[in-house]
């Protein structure tokens, strides 16, 4: 049985070639092999959204994907959102609106929101609810999160 495979991918704009253990989730691969620990591990069964990353620009639950599936794809994690030391609009809006308490859900929330704004620059409340439907916040910052997403839309 092949235990490891070599994969090629882009992570936060950089091309990479790495070995990945078959059976390792993309979530573990990101945290343990790429050492990008901004992506969080919550439920590991697709229910909480703490592990959301952008794969080819789309928000997905990295706990339900295998590391090997990254081959040939483009991955963006929360570490890749800021450009030249400047935070992304959504990140700033989350700070301005205090859209978190503990912050555990924040990376997933921000990436899901970023992807929403990329496909719908002026989302309705319903669009925001849909886009964040898989992201739970145990601290209950939902109100502030929605405000932050709206504010980042308006700033465009």
């Amino acid at each position: 049985m092949t235990e490891k495979l070599v994969i090629n991918f882009t992570v936060n704009g950089e091309k990479e070639e790495k070995e990945v253990i078959i059976g390792q989730t993309l979530l573990k691969f990101i945290r343990d092999e790429l050492h990008l620990t901004g992506t969080k591990e919550g439920c590991e069964i697709g229910e909480c959204g703490a592990c959301v990353v952008l794969l080819d620009g789309k928000p997905v639950n990295s706990c339900l994907i295998l590391g090997v599936e990254l081959d040939g794809k483009d991955l963006i994690t929360i570490e890749g959102l800021s450009k030249n030391g400047e935070l992304d609009r959504v990140q700033k809006a989350f700070i301005d609106h205090a859209a978190f308490q503990c912050g555990y859900c924040t990376p997933g929330m921000i990436l899901a929101a970023r992807a929403l704004l990329d496909r719908k620059p002026n989302p309705t409340d319903e669009d925001i609810n849909e886009a964040l439907s898989g992201n739970l916040c145990r601290c209950g910052a939902y109100q502030e999160i929605r405000e932050a997403v709206k504010a980042s839309a308006e700033k465009k």
Binding site: I22, G23, V52, N61, L64, E69, L132, G134
Partner: protein, 276 residues
């Protein structure tokens, strides 16, 4: 960590060959059932065959036979496909009610029916639309009505070596409104406690229900009352649904609660599609 082989397929013939020749081979589409299931010990795979980038399975098109949804098309892609939205919105509703937005970026309709949960949210709409499942193997192709495809909880009519290539929503499309009404414990990210699809076809209706029997079922008693006997009292008609279902008690709801909710949702579905 689980150990198995991983084969990435870029053509359908190869995927069929892997299925036919290997032991404990599982197809990996979106993985949203498979990966959770493997971790929980529900499946033990020796080989995963990744079909999500097989070009023949990415087909999403409409022609004179109807709408074809390839097995690697994600639910989000299906939801925004204009022919589905415009001609069979009940199916868009069913797809949209699965999990969350991020889940639907991976999850497929084929994976939903192949997992064969009686609660599969695309199933009841597909039953109401008389969908056909196009099946492929190294030997050839065949297709079967969706109602014959579901064989029991977690069981399909697929034989060894066979895979679902696509799902066809045949023409003619229904004339009239259709709704999918889902009761679940949370607003999103939960399986249906019960799911009721009611589709008007001209002056008649078709009704299908999920999570109330070993497979999704049609509510023939209710349909007969409306379509053949001309029953106009929808509450009375909805009560007959008790003859069509045999729900169980589980963590999502008791048997009694399911009986009650199905009746309520069937009545609402009739009101919304046929008019109060």
């Amino acid at each position: 960590m689980l150990s198995y082989d991983y084969v990435k397929c870029n053509d359908l013939r190869l995927a069929c060959q892997e299925l036919e020749e290997g032991e404990q081979v599982y197809l990996l589409a979106g993985g949203t059932d498979l990966i959770v299931g493997m971790r929980g010990g529900k499946f033990s795979a020796k080989t995963l065959v990744d079909i999500k980038d097989v070009p023949e399975l990415k087909v999403l098109e409409e022609d004179d036979r109807g709408i074809t949804v390839g097995a690697a098309v994600t639910l989000n892609e299906a939801v925004v496909f204009a022919p589905i939205r415009d001609n069979v919105p009940i199916l868009a509703e069913g797809c949209h009610s699965v999990g969350s937005y991020s889940i639907r970026n991976r999850a497929t309709m084929a994976g939903n029916i192949c997992n064969a949960s009686p609660a599969a949210d695309t199933a009841a709409p597909l039953y109401c639309l008389d969908a056909l499942v196009n099946i492929k193997s190294s030997e050839g192709s065949r297709s079967m009505p969706i109602k014959d495809f579901f064989a029991g909880p977690g069981k399909t009519a697929l034989n060894k070596g066979e895979l679902v290539q696509s799902i066809l929503i045949p023409r003619p499309y229904p004339e009239g409104k259709g709704v999918y009404l889902k009761a679940s414990r949370t607003g999103s990210v939960d399986l249906a406690t019960v799911g009721v699809a009611v589709q008007r076809w001209g002056e008649e209706v078709k009704i299908a229900i999920g999570a109330v029997a070993a497979t999704p079922v049609r509510a023939f008693s209710v349909e007969k009352a409306i379509n053949e006997k001309g029953e106009k009292n929808y509450a009375d008609a909805a009560r007959l649904v008790h003859d069509d279902i045999s729900p169980i008690t589980d963590l999502r709801g008791s048997r009694e609660y399911r009986y009650h909710m199905v009746e309520v949702l069937v009545r609402r579905g009739l009101e919304q599609t046929l008019g109060v």
